[in-house]
C-alpha cells in the first residue's frame, strides 16, 4: 500500500497527531495518520480537559500562551467550539507556606515579563469560588484559562483535518520503520506505507519509535486517575488546582464534578489497560472533602485513567530527530499536553514546511536525553 500520495506519515491519532495533520493540511501538505486503536482512545480522549497556562514549566509558557489564543478562537480552527469555556483556573493556597510559594512564583514570572498569573487575596478567592473552605488564604489565578471536552476536541481536529483531505488509518499498528533512499517506509498491520517525512506523536508508545531511530528516551507510561460524580447543582465556575497537595477540580457544564490532579493508576502499556488505585483515590477524596465541604455527599460513579507519556523532566519532546533526517517528534507531554495541542501541531507543520518555528522550542529537543541507554 502506498501512503496514497501523502508526504507525511504521522504515527499516533491523539490530539497532537490530529493537530499536526490539520496544520499540515492548512499548509498544503498531505498527511496520513496511523492510529493503532481509534482516534482519541487514550489520554487525548479521556483527560481532565484543562486548558491551562497556570503553573506551567517556564519553558512551556510561550507555547501555552500562544495555544491559549488559538483556544479562544478554536471554532475558527476546527469548526467546533470543542466545549471550550473560559472561567479561569485558580491554584489555591491553603496555608502561609503555599501562599509564599505562589507569591514568589508570581514575582518570578513578572520578572520574566509574564502577567498571566496573578495573586488574589482571600476575599477575591471566595468571591470567585464561594464553595471553597474558609481555611484557604489566597491563590494564583489565570483568568483566561478554562476547560474543554477532550474527546470532542480531538474528534473535531480529526474531522477538520479529514475534511481538508488528510487520511486517518485507525485500527492500524506500526510494526517498524526503515529508511529506503530518501524515503521513510512504515510497515503497518495494514501494509507498507512510504513517505518523505515521519512524525512521532505516539504518546506513551513513542519511545519505541525513538529506539528504532537510535535515540532512546527515558519515557514512562503513566495513567493519571480521574473520578467523576453524578450531576450536582452548579457551585463552581473556575478550575481549581491544589498547591501543597495534588488536585485538579472542576464542574462541567452538565453539572458533573471532575476530580483529578495526577495521582497515578497502574498501567499495562502492552495490554493498553489501567488499574485504579483506590487508596490513592481516597487521598484525592480527602483533599476534595477538606477544600469543598459541599462535596461530602457527592456521589462518585466512575473513575478512569488515560495512558500517556511522562519524561523525567516533565516537559515534552518537540522538534527534529537528532539521528535521522525528516523525522519530527511531539510526545511526552507529561500529563499536561491537552492545552498545547492546537499550537504544537502548528509548530510541527512549520518545522516540516520551513525548517524552523517562530516559538522557542530549544528546551524540548530530544538531544537533552542523548546518552540515555535503551531499556
Amino acid at each position: 500500500m502506498s501512503a496514497a500520495g501523502a508526504d507525511v506519515v504521522i504515527i499516533g491519532g491523539g490530539l497532537h497527531g490530529c493537530s499536526a495533520a490539520l496544520h499540515l493540511a492548512r499548509a498544503g501538505v498531505r498527511a496520513l495518520v496511523v492510529e493503532k486503536n481509534y482516534v482519541g482512545r487514550h489520554a487525548s480522549g479521556v483527560n481532565a480537559g484543562g486548558v491551562r497556562t497556570l503553573a506551567r514549566n517556564e519553558a512551556e509558557i510561550p507555547l501555552a500562551l500562544a495555544a491559549l489564543e488559538l483556544w479562544h478562537h478554536i471554532g475558527e480552527l476546527v469548526d467546533d467550539d470543542c466545549g471550550f469555556e473560559s472561567f479561569g483556573q485558580i491554584r489555591v493556597a491553603e496555608n502561609a507556606a503555599d501562599a509564599a510559594a505562589l507569591q514568589q512564583r508570581e514575582a518570578r514570572l513578572q520578572a520574566l515579563g509574564y502577567s498571566h498569573e496573578r495573586w488574589i487575596a482571600a476575599d477575591e478567592l471566595f468571591l470567585r469560588v464561594p464553595a471553597l473552605s474558609r481555611h484557604c488564604v489566597g491563590g494564583l489565578i489565570a483568568l483566561r484559562d478554562g476547560a474543554a471536552l477532550p474527546y470532542r476536541t480531538t474528534a473535531a481536529f480529526r474531522r477538520k483535518a479529514e475534511n481538508l483531505g488528510q487520511i486517518f488509518l485507525e485500527g492500524t499498528r506500526v510494526l517498524g520503520i526503515r529508511r529506503e533512499g530518501n524515503s521513510w517506509v512504515v510497515d503497518t498491520s495494514a501494509g507498507t506505507l512510504s513517505c518523505r517525512v515521519l512524525v512521532n506523536c505516539a504518546g506513551a508508545w513513542a519511545d519505541a519509535i525513538c529506539a528504532a531511530l537510535g535515540e532512546p528516551v527515558p519515557l514512562e507510561a503513566i495513567g493519571p486517575m480521574m473520578l467523576v460524580t453524578l450531576r450536582m447543582p452548579r457551585f463552581l465556575e473556575p478550575v481549581v488546582l491544589g498547591t501543597g497537595r495534588p488536585l485538579s477540580f472542576k464542574q462541567t457544564a452538565e453539572g458533573t464534578v471532575l476530580i483529578g490532579g495526577g495521582r497515578l493508576s497502574r498501567v499495562d502499556r502492552g495490554l493498553e489497560t489501567t488499574e485504579l488505585d483506590f487508596r490513592e483515590l481516597a487521598a484525592s477524596a480527602r483533599t476534595v472533602r477538606e477544600l469543598f465541604p459541599v462535596m461530602r455527599g457527592a456521589v462518585i460513579h466512575r473513575g478512569w485513567a488515560g495512558i500517556e507519556a511522562r519524561m523525567p523532566d516533565e516537559i515534552p519532546v518537540i522538534g527534529p530527530s537528532s539521528t535521522a533526517p525528516d523525522v519530527f517528534h511531539a510526545f511526552g507531554f507529561s500529563a499536561h499536553g491537552f492545552e498545547l495541542g492546537p499550537i504544537v501541531g502548528r509548530i510541527t507543520a512549520e518545522l516540516i514546511t520551513t525548517g524552523a518555528s517562530a516559538l522557542p522550542i530549544a528546551p524540548f529537543s530530544i538531544r537533552r536525553f542523548a546518552g540515555h541507554a535503551p531499556d
Partner: protein, 475 residues
Amino acid sequence: MTLASRYDILVIGAGPAGLAAAAESVAMGLRVALVDEQGAPGGQIYRAITTTPVQQRDVLGADYWYGEKLVAAFERSGAGYSPRTTVWAVTREADEFQIGLSCDGGAQLIRARQVILATGAQERPFPIPGWTLPGVMTAGAAQILLKSAGLVPGGTTVLAGSGPLLYLIAAQFTAAGARVECLLDTTPAGRWRDVLRHAPDFVASPYAAKGWSMLRAAQRMMRIVKGVEQISAIGAGKLDGVRFTTGGHTQDIPADLLLLHQGVVPGINLSNAIGCAHHWDAAQACFTPTVDDWGATSIPGITIAGDAAGIAGARSAEARGTLAALHAASALGHLRTAQRDAQAVAPRRELERWNRGRKFVDALYLPAPEFRIPTGDTIVCRCEEVTARQVTETVALGCTGPNQMKSFLRCGMGPCQGRLCGLTITELIAKERGVSPAETGYYRLRFPVKPITLGELAALPQTDSSVDAVVRIKR
C-alpha cells in the same frame, strides 16, 4: 457481620449460584465470605424468601419455595455473610484481589485470593416509545415488590413482552389478586416453526410440563394477544394506555400500569470492569463472559457462577455455584485435580439435566429485532435521555463504537452505568454500520461499578504510599 481483612474466597451475590458456591467452599475448610446487596439471602429468584409477607405458598409457587432448602444449607454452612453490602471494585493486588465494598454507608477494602462472581442476571433493555413514562416499569421490578413487600398492582395492568418469566409473573400476580387485563406476547408469529428442531430436547426437560401448564393457566386467567409487532406506552405525563399492533391492525387499550419484560441477560458490569474477556452470544443476543466449564474466566482467580456467566436458570446456577467453588478450591491448592473432578460428577449431572431444553427456550424467546433495536425518538439511554435517532445520526458522523458514543452523547454515562442501554447501543450501532455486534463491542465499564459517596471513599484507610504521595503539581 464485620468482614475480616482477608479471605481465601470471596463470593459476590447471594442467589442460588452464590449460596451454593459459599456453602461448598466452606465445607472444604476454606475461609469464605459471601457479600450481597440485599438484606436477606436468595438473590432475585428466591428474593426475600426468609422475610416475604406472601405466605400463601401457591402465590409464588413451588419453584420459589425450593430456595428455602438452599438458604438453609447456606446458613448451616457457617460461611461468613455480609448483607446490604455493595461491591464497587475488584482490582488485582499482587497475587490476590482487592475488593472495594460498602456496607451501611461505610466503605472498606478487603482482600481475597479467589473471587467468585455470582451477580446474576438483569432484565434485557426493552426500549419502546413511551417506556420512560411513570406507570411503565419492568415486570421483574414489579415481581420484586410482590416478593419483598407483598405489593400487587391496584389498577388495570398490562403485561408485555416475551419469555417464560413473563408468564410466571402473570400467574403470580393473578394468584396474588391483581387484575391483569391483558398480556401482549411479542414472540414473533411463526417462531415456533423455526425452533421445532430443538423441541425434542425441550420436551424431555423438566421445564416442558411446567411451561405448558403455565401457558394454559395464563390463557384461562387473562386475555392473551399473540404475535404483537409493535408496542407504545401512551399518555401525557403518565401512562394512560398501551397502543399495540398485531397482524397489521393497531389498537389502544387503557392501562394504569404497563409491565415490560423481554427476558434476562447476564449482568456483566463487574466482570467487564474487572477486565474479563466477553463474547457476543448470538443465541441470546447479549454479551457474555467467556468462561470454561468450571466458570473460570480469562483472569486467573476470577470465576463466574450462575446466570452472570450465561442465562440458564436457577437450578443450573446452583450446580454452577458448586463447580465454581470446586475450581477455586483447586486453584488454591486445597483440592487435588482428581478430587475436584470426582466431586464435580454430581453437579455436572444436575447441570446437564437443567440445561436440557435451553436451546429451545433461547431460540423461541429471542426478542424480535424491532424490540431490541428502536428507531426515531424512542429513548435509548434513560439516564441522559439519548434517542435512537441521535445515535444513528452520530454513527453517520463517523462514530464507530459504544465508547466513542459515550464521548459524543454521554449515553451510558449516567447512574445506571449503561445497564439499561448497553445492548441497545451496541445493536443500534452495529445495524447502522452493517457490522456485527461482536465487532462493534460494548462499553468499557469503570469502577466504581456502583456509586459510592465521596465521604465513603475519603474514609478508606491510608497507605504509606498515599501518605508520601508524589506531589506532581509544580511550585
